[in-house]
Symmetry: C2
Subunit: 98 residues, 2 copies
């Protein structure tokens, strides 16, 4: 299931920090790595997981590879959460759908 990968990707603090960085603006793999004390190989591994989860996409630009947030997947997960709140809300409150 897609959600499994997404939540697994989000469960790591390093990866969430990467997403925070990319929230400001797209960054190359090297720029992202500069924010952490780990190996470039490790950062690349995290980026691959984020990409696999659909949370980011990459754009090759000459010598560099830029990573960027993929907001549509954020919206998907947001919807998943809202089903719980809606579902629960409807059960003890008169429902008016939007």
């Amino acid at each position: 299931m897609a959600l499994a990968n997404t939540f697994k990707a989000l469960s790591d603090p390093t990866r969430r920090e990467i997403l925070n960085l990319l929230g400001v603006r797209p960054l190359s793999a090297g720029e992202i790595g500069a924010h952490f004390s780990m190996t470039g190989a490790t950062v690349s591994h995290h980026l691959a997981i984020l990409k696999d989860a659909g949370l980011v996409f990459d754009r090759h630009e000459g010598k560099y590879i830029f990573y960027e947030l993929n907001l549509s997947v954020f919206e998907e997960v947001l919807n998943w959460f809202q089903t719980f709140l809606d579902q629960k809300g409807d059960s003890h409150e008169e429902a008016e759908k939007k």
Copy 2:
């Protein structure tokens, strides 16, 4: 960090299915276990993780222990997601909040 535990808890399909079941109504550990083909011990383990993540709470009632969704944590995570959408949306679009 709290988010780490929450996302780790949500990354397992079994635990997400448990949350779905609890979305309908609170259930005892036994009732939850009846929906799966695993050992009761394993289900208990998953419930402990969900409880630790704050996604559910338990209520002791005689011989049984009932589990129930804790919606406030759902809302917290939902807010975390919305910061990304808001942040990004504001940067390239004139923001008008709903």
